[in-house]
């Protein structure tokens, strides 16, 4: 992103000062570290978020809190209890997301095979997959100046669309699977286009209409799962019929170990990110999106049809979120989806897009980071509250969205190109 800044510019006017030594790599690197550029703001945001998370863990834990009441008598008690709590909690997240040290021991001793070691990573990537899609759905709309917080609803409809095609048809896998995936994209796209159409024709703000559609979709999902058409024939609880074998996404690593659930959708997600990159930077449609996002009035003056751009962008974003739904209902939810399958992947897409600064590459990286948080928190519960992942995500993106705040808290220097911040827009 900013490797260029590391190459020193030899003829700098301020180096004329005789006392200051010639800028070498280490000096420039040191200066880079204390500057509020986008890379360092991201790193500091992560560090501060984990710090605040640690403080909250300590404050909210009754056992540790009680050791603080006699801090002045025996400070080492409070300090060690706090340290242990934070260390254990974050270690549990790490073990659930990246590498389980106990499994590593067992593997060294020859008790388990290599595949078991990959399990946390597989779960991380599995959780990252829908986040890549929803992150792209939010990020793409962002570039057109639209705030698509409807990814959750679009994903739910994508989930249902893929599910319906997945269990009703009997086709060879080579046709069935792509068809089911496309059905998810289409269902999400149609649902996503609604706020775009409403904004283009009536001026209704997409944030409000998307929120309403999210709530409607969530309720619709509850009803649909219980409906005769979708409800499982064998189970009594709220779960749908399974999709056919031919429409199930093949797993990538199950040859190592059948418990590794990461599937083909991950590769689809990366492909989608590449496609969005191409769309935004190489295509006419992408140019229009960016132009409208940059200055809608100028674009209108230049003869672009703003309303049509809103509609198509929202439809494309909805299709991306719909793919997230397809990834869920043909992947982890292939044996039947519940009201819980969708989790909050759609809402998390907002934080992913913000952390990734609405760029496809950044979104993939952010999705993997938040996928790791999610996988870690899911495996570390109930010792660590599962919502620590939402909490940490929110704090991280709060700082990312407000680089000036990070700069002020840490007394960073202003970067040469100015702070990278999101453009402010009214209703």
């Amino acid at each position: 992103m900013s490797t260029e800044t590391e190459t020193p510019a030899p003829e700098q006017p301020e180096s004329a000062e005789t006392t200051e030594p010639r800028p070498n790599f280490m000096r420039l690197f040191g200066r880079y570290l204390i500057e509020a550029n986008s890379v360092m703001v991201t790193i500091y945001s992560l560090v501060m978020a984990f710090f605040i998370g640690a403080v909250l863990l300590i404050v909210s834990d009754e056992g540790v809190r009680s050791t603080w009441t006699y801090f002045f008598a025996r400070p080492q008690d409070a300090l060690s209890a706090s340290w242990n709590l934070v260390y254990d909690s974050y270690l549990a997240l790490f073990q659930g997301a990246i590498l389980n040290l106990n499994t590593l021991e067992a593997f060294r001793a020859g008790d388990v095979e290599f595949g078991n070691l990959l399990r946390p990573l597989s779960e991380t990537l599995l959780n990252a997959t829908p986040l890549i899609f929803t992150g792209l759905a939010v990020g793409l709309a962002f570039r057109a100046g639209l705030f698509n917080i409807g990814a959750q609803g679009q994903m739910i409809f994508g989930m249902l669309g893929a599910l319906v095609i997945g269990f009703t048809l009997n086709l060879p896998a080579a046709i069935h699977l792509p068809l089911a995936v496309i059905a998810g994209a289409v269902a999400g796209g149609i649902f996503g286009a609604v706020p775009g159409v409403l904004k283009a024709t009536t001026g209704a703000h997409e944030v409000i209409s998307s929120i309403m559609l999210n709530n409607i979709a969530a309720l619709f999902l509850v009803w649909a799962i219980g409906s005769q058409f979708l409800h499982s024939e064998t189970k009594s609880e709220l779960v749908t019929k399974p999709v056919n074998e031919t429409a199930t996404l093949p797993t990538l690593l199950s040859s190592f170990n059948p418990s590794l659930r990461v599937n083909l959708a991950l590769l689809l997600g990366v492909a989608a990110a590449v496609f969005v990159w191409w769309l935004l930077s190489k295509s006419t449609f992408g140019f229009r999106i960016r132009a409208v996002g940059f200055n809608e009035h100028a674009s209108a003056t230049a003869g672009m049809r703003i309303g049509a751009t809103y509609t198509t962008t929202m439809a494309a974003a909805g299709a991306l979120a719909g793919l997230a739904g397809a990834a869920l209902s043909l992947g982890v939810g292939a044996s039947g989806i519940t009201t819980n399958t969708a989790l909050e992947y759609g809402f998390d897409g907002i934080t992913v897009a913000l952390l990734g600064r609405a760029k496809p590459g950044g979104i993939v990286a952010a999705a993997i980071l938040f996928g790791a948080l999610k996988a870690g928190s899911l495996s570390a519960q109930p010792a660590v509250p599962v919502d620590i992942s939402i909490l940490l995500q929110a704090i991280i993106v709060l700082f990312i969205a407000a680089p000036a705040l990070v700069k002020a808290i840490l007394h960073l220097r202003a970067p040469r190109g100015g702070l990278v911040t999101l453009e402010a827009k009214g209703w």
Binding site: L198, P385, I395, A404, L422, A424
Partner: protein, 423 residues
């Protein structure tokens, strides 16, 4: 999108016929859908309205089938009028009438089922009670947006208020201390918004969404942590206040004089916020800062300081609205218990056109819809599945924001950070 619209060309095609045509088609579809549903499922003989709390032996029955058919015709007529073209000044009235007719026909249809009675007093009293979170949330939004800061984080303030209200009530053992705690927690959340919006000039919609997420993460996290300790999340409740003989007046008594303190505060706030906004120096300055901050600045108003304090104080209102979820309903805190109502409150603010009286009307409409949906769902007599009934407030918001209001006129500088340096 706000301050520079005077010179710019129109962004979207807003020519009236398109909107009228769209609305007409929507209502036509709705009318056909209602007709189809009624003839498919069938309709009972008659619907009964009862005064269930005061005049218990009095009730009123109306023939359901002809009335629903008539209302249906009215909707079709209005829809056709919209499609063939009607004068602009009639459009809103026609839309309101069509919405009312659709809702009424659905109501009569549902209450025509044998065994269901429209218990007018209970339902209206419940509707007023249920409109309170919308009212407080929307007032918080009004105060913020009138001063030029978008507060999309009402949902988060609700959650903070709901959580802190119960927590403080449990710690102190005093439910009123809990309410104060809820207000302060809401205010803490908006203070962060105010700081980021004024001092750091961050995109307010983005910050609002992040603050919602932060509140959701924080309260859910704390909920799990505090669950380990005993007695920090027990339900607290407030008594219903009755006004002696006034409670025996039909309709008015149960609705107005037999409510919890939240309702009385809410009604008082309508007058207070209206008076403050339109009749005081502070209100004039606030509105000026929201419409044209540069002009206010040149008259000596410190724009960003006023915005900061207005937004911070507005959090007291939405925090109190948060306490409604737990304390007014005698419930313990639950994860994400506000269920998106903070966003509906935002819609109420827009429906009410950033005006306290409009907000009251909007909140009542939403409270009524929610109450009817709950009543039918609880009676188990609903023809429509419960999930669809619960969709009603959201669907109504969508229809109203898109159809009735269209491009509502927000305060001109709403969401635009003010930087005194670059006028």
């Amino acid at each position: 999108m706000a301050s520079d619209t005077m010179t710019a060309p129109p962004l979207v095609d807003e020519t009236k016929p398109v909107r009228h045509l769209l609305a007409g088609v929507v209502f036509l579809v709705l009318a056909v859908a209602v007709r189809a549903a009624v003839s498919l499922v069938g309709i009972g003989e008659s619907a009964t309205v009862a005064f269930d709390r005061t005049l218990t032996d009095f009730s009123w029955t109306l023939p359901s089938d002809p009335v629903v058919a008539f209302l249906n015709l009215v909707v079709v007529g209005l829809a056709i009028w919209m499609i063939v073209g009607l004068p602009q000044r009639w459009f809103k009235i026609a839309t309101a009438a069509a919405v009312t007719a659709v809702v009424l026909s659905l109501l009569i249809w549902n209450y025509s089922q044998p065994g269901t009675v429209f218990r007018a007093e209970s339902i209206l009293a419940g509707a007023l009670f249920l409109s309170m979170p919308y009212l407080f949330g929307a007032f918080s939004g009004v105060v913020c947006e009138r001063s030029g800061v978008i507060n999309i984080g009402i949902e988060g303030q609700f959650l903070m208020g709901a959580f802190t209200g119960v927590l403080v009530a449990n710690i102190t053992g005093n439910v009123y201390a809990g309410m104060v705690g809820a207000m302060l927690a809401g205010s803490l959340s908006t203070m962060l918004l105010a700081l980021l919006a004024t001092k750091y000039q961050v995109n307010q919609v983005v910050v609002g969404v992040i603050l919602n997420l932060l509140a959701l993460g924080f309260t859910s996290f704390m909920y799990d942590q505090l669950k380990k300790a005993e007695g920090l999340n027990s339900a607290y409740s407030v008594k219903t206040i009755t006004w002696g003989p006034l409670t025996d007046i039909p309709i008015l008594g149960p609705v107005l004089f037999q409510q919890k303190v939240f309702v009385y505060v809410g009604i008082a706030m309508v007058a207070v916020v209206w008076f403050l906004l339109y009749r005081t120096r502070w209100g004039l300055r606030t509105r000026a800062v929201g419409e044209h901050p540069a002009a206010a600045d040149s008259m000596g108003v410190n724009v960003n300081r006023l915005r900061f304090w207005n937004v911070t104080v507005a959090g007291l209102l939405s925090g109190f609205g948060g306490a409604w979820f737990t304390i007014a309903n005698s419930l313990a805190f639950g994860k994400n218990m506000t269920a998106g109502l903070g966003f509906v409150a935002l819609a109420v603010m827009i429906v009410g056109r950033w005006n306290p009286l409009g907000v009251l009307a909007g909140a009542l409409i939403f409270g009524f819809t929610t109450q009817v949906a709950r009543d039918l769902d609880a009676a188990g007599a609903s023809i429509v599945p419960g999930e669809f009934l619960q969709m009603l407030p959201y669907a109504v918001t969508l229809v109203v924001v898109a159809g009735l209001i269209g491009r509502a006129k927000a305060p001109a500088a709403d969401g635009v950070p003010y930087n005194p340096g670059d006028k």
